[in-house]
């Protein structure tokens, strides 16, 4: 698998349906029938990732919403992306 960087582009898997409930997101992966929950911050990241574009673009969107050290936000975004890649919720474009 290609190395994940902030310049990577990802796409949401065909087998994924996400919905928001009370500011949180629940993702259903249809092939396995597995549900995944995202807290409100991860929900914002998911929205930014799912919008298409690079992870850098997604980071820029999230940075506008949170007054947090950009390096921390970047690490969190990459970590979340890695976890989602591992669970096949997204794939590298």
């Amino acid at each position: 698998m290609a190395e994940l960087t902030i310049n990577s582009c990802v796409v949401v898997s065909e087998s994924v349906i996400a919905r928001e409930v009370g500011g949180e997101t629940v993702i259903l992966e249809l092939d396995s029938g597995t549900y995944f929950g995202l807290n409100p911050i991860a929900t914002d990241m998911w929205r930014a990732i799912a919008a298409g574009g690079s992870l850098g673009d997604a980071l820029a969107i999230v940075e506008r919403a949170y007054e947090v050290d950009p390096a921390v936000l970047r690490d969190d975004l990459l970590r979340l992306t890695e976890q989602m890649l591992r669970r096949r919720l997204i794939s590298l474009a």
Binding site: S15, I17, R19, V21, G22, G23, E24, V26, L28, L30, D31, S32, G33, Y35, G37
Partner: protein, 374 residues
């Protein structure tokens, strides 16, 4: 009025359905067979099996309808051959394996009344090697459909009912399958076979299918129609197809798309469906080539509260409510020695904050004991 009785009256008065099951059971059940009637309802399929020569019928049903089935069975003189088991089949045990399993848990779209889950379990635990199933195969059919009136059920929510904004509901409404009836001329393409489920091997695991539908006339796609046909035996089929002249009296399903798309003859509508039978989830992805694409899912349409969601978080630390504690007490008191009356008395004594009368305690205890006691 009992809605359950009325539902069964409709089943029994459906002459196409009854003719199909009568013929199929006469064909499949042999003299001396042991038969399992799964989700027996009035017990009609078991009665048909008796008439076909079954030596023994096990009629399983979790509902109180089973008492009616017992009376009907007795009225027809078959009570020496039918054993009733009031349980969900998943929880039931039988003293012997059966030659035939019969059921009508097919639903409107072929999978949505639980047949995959129930048959997979019953096949494994109850059916003899080489045993027979009625039905033995179910096919799921789809076609793009022109159905403005059905679509209005989605758009109702943006019509400001009573002068209020109900627009947030539209998202749920657009992600729901609607029971409905079609006329054949509403279908915009020939029916396309989504999938055929061989019930001898099918499980309740998720499955998907993809078809391409060639539009046959100009019109407007409002959604996707879904229905089934089932092989009840080698020679008997049963269907709720809008194209069948022998269709049973059972509604089909309408899966809406977000907005109507005008189509011409020759246009292609690609339909992909993913089905999760145990959760009765359907996801439908519809693309009118060159024009529009939509993704919908009953998962998005499911009513799901944040309170319920919070209780599914891995870090949620549950604790029992007062009624939960009381329920635990009832379970503890079901020790194989204490009679029901004493349990009720004890519950009234222990939980005066919950029960103001013996009657209230009795209702609570009965509910728990009915579910978990024997």
């Amino acid at each position: 009025m009992s809605l359950i009785l009325d539902e069964h009256r409709e089943y029994l008065s459906d002459t196409a359905r009854m003719a199909a099951y009568t013929a199929a059971i006469a064909e499949v059940v042999r003299a001396g067979d042991v038969v399992l009637d799964l989700g027996a309802g009035t017990g009609i399929l078991g009665l048909l099996a008796c008439r076909a020569g079954a030596r023994r019928v096990y009629a399983i049903d979790a509902g109180s309808m089973i008492e009616v089935a017992r009376e009907v069975c007795r009225a027809n003189g078959y009570d020496d051959r039918v054993t009733f088991v009031k349980k969900l089949s998943l929880d039931a045990e039988l003293p012997e394996r059966v030659d035939v399993i019969v059921a009508d848990q097919i639903g409107r779209f072929g999978f949505d009344a639980g047949i995959l889950q129930y048959f997979a379990d019953a096949r494994r635990r109850f059916l003899k090697p080489g045993g027979r199933l009625v039905p033995n195969r179910i096919r799921m059919w789809v076609a793009p459909v022109e159905a403005a009136a059905l679509r209005d059920q989605v758009e109702f929510w943006v019509s400001q009912p009573a002068g209020f904004d109900f627009a947030p509901v539209r998202r749920y409404a657009a992600n729901t399958g609607y029971p409905c009836r079609y006329t054949a001329d509403q279908l915009l393409s020939a029916p396309q076979l989504g999938t055929a489920l061989d019930l001898a091997v099918a499980t309740d695991a998720s499955f998907d299918f993809a078809v391409s539908c060639r539009v046959l006339r100009s019109g407007t796609v409002h959604g996707i129609a879904g229905w089934f046909d089932a092989d009840l035996s080698d020679s008997v089929q049963m269907s709720n197809s809008p194209l069948s002249r022998q269709a049973i009296n059972r509604r089909t399903v309408f899966f809406p798309i977000d907005h109507p798309i005008a189509v011409e003859s020759g246009d292609i509508v690609d339909v992909r469906m993913c089905v999760a039978p145990t959760d009765t989830l359907v996801t439908w992805k519809v693309a009118v080539r060159g024009k529009a694409a939509f993704t919908h899912s009953t998962w998005t349409g499911m009513l799901l509260s944040r309170e319920k969601l919070a209780k599914t978080q891995p870090d949620f630390v549950p604790r029992l409510t007062r009624r939960g504690i009381a329920r635990g007490s009832v379970l503890d008191l079901c020790d194989g020695r204490t009679p029901l009356a004493s349990i009720e008395e004890e519950m009234l004594h222990r939980y005066p904050d919950l029960f103001q009368s013996r009657q209230q305690a009795a209702v609570f205890v009965t509910e728990v004991v009915s579910a978990y006691g024997e």
